[in-house]
Amino acid sequence: MNKMILGRYIPGDSFIHRLDPRTKLLATFYYIAVIFLANNWQSYLLATVVTLAIIPVSKVSLRFFLNGLLPVLFLIVFTVLIQVFFTTGGHVYWHWGWLSVTSLGLTNAGFIFVRLVLIIFMSTLLTLTTPSLSLADAVESLLKPLAKIHFPVTEVALMLSIALRFVPTLLDQTTKTMNAQRARGVDFGSGGLFKQVKTIVPLFIPLFVTAFTMADELATAMEARGYRDGYGRTRFRVLRYGRGDLLAAVVLILLTLGLIFLRN
């Protein structure tokens, strides 16, 4: 259960940790969009250098970022292979029916590989340095204008933060339940397909029951403390932009200008 790196916060006190979560959220989305400007080796080099320069600022070891690649490794390899075999143009190195390896295909595959890795590094940076509750706060704050068109912003944000809050609890409960059933002779993850499917029931039924009980208790506790809806509530964690956020914006703008300048 501990292998899930996406969505795991590593506590710290770096410049990036201290950025406003809204900045980090917006910057990540902006970065993912702007990286598509790169279209030659010079612009990709710039993007790579900037990204690799930003990562150490977080003071999180590079190992966590590399681990972040693992869950999507298959996707990356698959995309790269498609590029290699199906893009045609330039010098042909190898050819067989539909498939061919060409110089253009290889370059494109290389570019796509770099782009995917950079995007994953940046999203990993976001989740490694931002507690999920701060992310929920950021989403709420950014969605606030939608309240004008009667979108239930506070409710959605509450649902989001409750869901995020209970992910670790449920993972914990999963480990406990698996252990309890292991002690009663269940082998998770071994044996044939039929045997494995059968192990799902003793794991999931207790988990569902616990989840429903927790939801029920939480609702009761919230009502007992007078919760009705989110309007007019004050907040414990107040979001405020600071100087660092300005600096982050400047870096992104410089990156954008650099990419526009270098691309062809």
Partner: protein, 287 residues
């Protein structure tokens, strides 16, 4: 069957910034046939130690020897079945492991996994449900229709049905009513009398005094003392320093001592105290 820890350390989430000490260089032996109590304040590593008893956790360093099996940091997760059969474990809040449609099926689940035939497993279920003090008519009810305390008993029956050599209990009576607690403790005492090895984690010092014949005191992932309850509870101040209590009888005796009574050793149980008082007050032998 003895279980021996040899310089066992366990680190949670090793190799991450969140690493936390679960066990720190523990070397102890839990003797076959003994009734061992493990005490220690919250977070001292009791549950972590228990999970090493049937290899749910493997040491980060050191070795655990369970009967003939050696568990080292590199032991594979395969082939642990025979071990799980020998060491039955009742977890903290065990009621949350129930899943089957009926109590009967849930209790028979363990034995079925260990290769007992359907008929025999069912017979075991009937027998164990009775043994934990539940009426026969719960057998065909859904475990989720029972009260929390009844569910706990079903979970305990589910582990007893595996007929383990070593019964490991992590705060099995927490949250039960006083009568339920007494019944459960009496059941474990009876099993022990019939030769069952028992390992019990508890915060109830009275239960330790009444039932255990060996006590491990844990603090910050270490076993800081091991001994007979008589020795462990003599050092009242030391226990209080480790955020632990004393059996009620011992507390009472301490207060009598302040009022001028003399005890050459502090009594643990009510009969023991009564006997000592009877002697001091010049009465006849207490029965």
């Amino acid at each position: 069957m003895d279980i021996t820890f040899d310089h066992v350390s366990y680190t949670y989430q090793a190799n991450t910034p969140m690493a936390g000490v679960g066990l720190d260089d523990v070397s102890v032996t839990i003797h076959g046939g003994a009734y061992t109590a493990i005490i220690g304040h919250t977070g001292s590593g009791k549950s972590t130690l228990l999970q090493h008893l049937n290899a749910l956790l493997k040491p980060t360093s050191g070795t655990v020897r369970i009967g003939e099996r050696m568990i080292t940091p590199s032991t594979s997760n395969k082939n642990l079945h025979p071990l799980r059969k020998k060491v039955g474990m009742v977890f903290q809040f065990a009621e949350s492991q129930l899943f089957a449609a009926t109590v009967r099926e849930d209790v028979a689940f363990g034995p079925r996994n260990f290769g007992v035939s359907a008929e025999d497993a069912d017979a075991l279920a009937v027998q164990m449900v009775a043994r934990v003090g539940l009426p026969e008519d719960v057998l065909d009810r859904s475990p989720f229709d029972l009260s929390g305390g009844q569910m706990r008993r079903v979970a305990i029956a589910g582990v007893l049905a595996m007929q383990p050599e070593v019964l490991v209990l992590d705060e099995p009576t927490a949250g039960l009513d006083p009568a339920g607690r007494r019944e459960m403790m009496a059941l474990f005492a009876k099993l022990h009398a019939d030769g069952q090895t028992i390992v019990l984690v508890t915060h109830q010092m009275d239960d330790v005094a009444d039932f255990a014949d060996d006590v491990l005191v844990m603090d910050q992932g270490k076993v800081v003392r091991q001994g007979h309850p008589k020795e462990i509870f003599q050092d009242a101040q030391w226990l209080l320093d480790h955020q632990l209590g004393l059996p009620r009888t011992t507390q009472f005796a301490l207060r009598l001592q302040q009022k001028g009574f003399k005890f050459d050793h502090l009594p643990l149980t009510t009969p023991e105290l009564a006997q000592m008082l009877a002697e001091q007050l010049g009465g006849a032998r207490h029965e």
